[in-house]
């Protein structure tokens, strides 16, 4: 009563309308929030037993897996969930891109989302080292070596990341701090801004079908509303719920039937800095950049191309000034997108071999 909670529920849930032509991909943003929530809950449970020291990290994870009641469940949910979360955030970005929903006046929403994706990947990267396994140790060795391709500042960046020349106890401490203390507030702040912008500007309709109202000139602020749209609750809320259930079902499917998908044998052997595995590769979401770096003869060019691609990706709404939102009516953009997507998939699988 004091804070008008009933009013918030009335305006934001019951009276809130969404465009009639929304599709299932509109739930991906919500799904990313759910995925993050699962990571937070399972992460806190792991944090109670995890010891961030090279002598104890692997043992403490094994204790979580074998001695802590249902520790295996939370650990596997956290590990599988991290990969699924990155997948969901990537899919969310791709669908927003294909539906042109990054366009004016939602440029900052896209930029915020892009930064969230980068933070999510850094989350995955920093968490990867924590179990201190052969896989995590050597994958981190690779990834922290990648900045050295950049002249002058590359080596110091690598040194700062590792806290020395090699991946050591210092690296583990730094990655642990990054994972549990530094990244979460940054992520929450970005997500707050992202959600604020979505609410403030109003969600964008798809460019498919009849509703395509964003062609108006942007001269003043106006929250986009859909008075004749579907009510958020229960219509869209139910869609979000069954997508959430599907997400959890997929998570447990992987845990049950594909247990080695994210846990190859090296992921169950303690890190040995003196024993380089035969095939070292980073996590799947970094395989494409890694493979590109290996393919381009000049490493500096390799890293610069990737940095430029990231900058273009983040600033794309400012570069793409065409009014047409429908990607099906933009053959060049569609071609470029397909080319990049195929390249990414090819490099990913190439990097795996």
């Amino acid at each position: 009563m004091r804070i008008g909670l009933d009013n918030i529920i009335q305006t934001q849930v019951i009276d809130y309308r969404i465009p009639k032509n929304t599709n299932i991909f509109y739930t991906l943003g919500f799904l990313a929030v759910v995925a993050y929530g699962i990571q937070v809950v399972t992460g806190i449970l792991l944090l109670i037993y995890y010891v961030p020291h090279p002598d104890h990290a692997f043992g403490s994870v094994q204790d979580i897996m074998t001695k802590v009641p249902y520790g295996w469940l939370f650990r596997e949910m956290h590990a599988v969930g991290s990969n699924l979360m990155i997948t969901v955030v990537m899919l969310h970005m791709v669908t927003v891109f294909l539906m042109g929903n990054y366009k004016r006046p939602r440029e900052l929403t896209w930029l915020g989302g892009g930064l969230i994706l980068i933070i999510t990947i850094i989350f995955g990267l920093s968490g990867y080292l924590l179990p201190w396994t052969q896989l995590s140790y050597w994958a981190t060795t690779i990834v922290t070596s990648m900045p050295t391709a950049f002249p002058v500042i590359g080596e110091p960046i690598s040194q700062i990341l590792r806290g020395g020349d090699h991946v050591t106890a210092t690296t583990l401490s730094r990655f642990f701090a990054l994972h549990v203390a530094i990244l979460p507030p940054i992520f929450l702040a970005l997500m707050g801004v992202h959600l604020f912008l979505i609410n403030r500007i109003g969600i964008s309709a798809t460019p498919f079908g009849k509703i395509d109202e964003e062609k108006r000139p942007l001269t003043e602020y106006k929250r986009k509303t859909y008075p004749d749209g579907y009510p958020y609750y229960p219509t869209f809320f139910q869609k979000q719920m069954y997508m959430m259930m599907a997400y959890l079902a997929v998570m447990f499917f992987i845990m049950t039937f594909l247990p080695t998908l994210f846990f190859p044998s090296e992921a169950n052997i303690p890190a040995d800095p003196f024993k380089t595995p035969h095939a070292i590769k980073p996590a799947w979401y970094l395989l494409a950049p890694y493979q590109l770096l290996r393919l381009i003869p000049n490493k500096f060019f390799g890293i610069m191309i990737q940095l430029i691609l990231i900058v273009v990706f983040l600033l794309w709404p400012f570069l793409d000034i065409q009014k047409e939102k429908n990607v099906l009516k933009r053959p060049v953009l569609r071609g470029v997108f397909l080319f990049l997507l195929v390249m990414w998939v090819v490099l990913l699988f190439w990097g795996r071999t």
């Binding site: 094994q62 069954y242 079902a249 499917f253 049950t256 044998s265 052997i269 490493k299 060019f301």
Partner: protein, 283 residues
């Protein structure tokens, strides 16, 4: 705005084109790092023995060692021969503990620096006593090789090898005495590897299996069939315990699988029900 961003990017690209030519040295260094797929052995013994200056008969040693069980377990030149593998000038200096190659008779002590239990049993065996007495007898490398050491197993006891010195009859009896326990050790080893693939690291059982195997193989070096037969029960009991632990772990994994299947079906079912509700609403 668009031109501002494009201009900024061009400025960003400019130093790239200027700097690129100077990157070759850096790239070479980058590619030689272990994670780039090329491992660099910073061992002067290896580099010297691989060089053209080395006598041809010694030049194959690095290649043989690289394929050996010792190499796979990080046992390098200096661990057997002493010396300093990091310092070319003093690599073969006695001050750095260089031992060189042992005489034929001294090979058991040379290997026994690490394989202590095996040395003790070998010296008490017919093989060891004959060797120490200066008679014709095998030393370690006759059966196991020197630089090209393979992972030990009962396959070493073979007609080809044993009949070099004597008939195969006694060796065959020994191989039969070893067979069941050795086979079981191998099977348990495979099961422990499988557990690792399942996300469990059975450290205690692995150590227990390793020490049981080492003790059993040390016993074999006495070349005393009766002793091996007498003590086989002792080793079987140890292996039974490891096997029981493995079975318990498998039961635990089965429970986990069933539990996560239940969760999967629960969420899939709930999702399906909600989906049906939305379909009804749409109608």
């Amino acid at each position: 705005m668009k031109y501002l961003i494009l201009g900024g990017m061009l400025l960003f690209l400019f130093p790239l084109t200027v700097y690129a030519d100077y990157q070759q040295d850096f790239e070479n260094e980058f590619l030689t790092k272990p994670w780039a797929g090329v491992q660099v052995e910073e061992n002067v013994c290896i580099s010297c023995h691989s060089s053209e200056q080395m006598k041809p008969e010694f030049r194959t040693i690095p290649e043989e060692w690289q394929a050996s069980w010792h190499a796979q377990n990080n046992v390098s030149c200096e661990h057997c021969h002493g010396g300093d593998s990091k310092d070319a000038a003093l690599a073969m200096s006695p001050q750095r503990g260089f031992l060189g190659s042992p005489q034929y008779k001294d090979v058991p002590q040379f290997c026994g620096k690490c394989h202590i239990a095996i040395l003790t049993n070998f010296l008490e065996s017919g093989h060891g006593k004959a060797l120490m007495a200066g008679k014709k007898a095998p030393n370690c490398v006759v059966c196991h090789g020197s630089h090209n050491i393979r992972k030990a197993g009962i396959d070493i006891i073979s007609v080809q090898l044993c009949t070099k010195c004597h008939s195969y009859e006694r060796a065959k009896v020994m191989k039969q005495a070893l067979f069941l326990t050795e086979t079981r050790i191998g099977e348990l080893g495979k099961k422990l590897e499988e557990l690792k693939h399942e996300g469990v690291y059975p450290e205690t059982d692995e150590q227990s299996l390793f020490s049981t195997q080492a003790e059993f193989r040390a016993l074999f070096h006495t070349v005393d069939v009766n002793l091996v037969k007498d003590r086989t029960g002792e080793f079987t009991a140890k292996l039974d315990l490891i096997d029981k632990n493995i079975q318990n772990t498998y039961s635990l994994l089965k429970f986990r699988k069933n539990f996560s299947t239940l969760l999967m079906l629960t969420f899939a079912g709930m999702g399906f029900v909600i989906f049906l509700m939305t379909q009804k609403k749409d109608e």
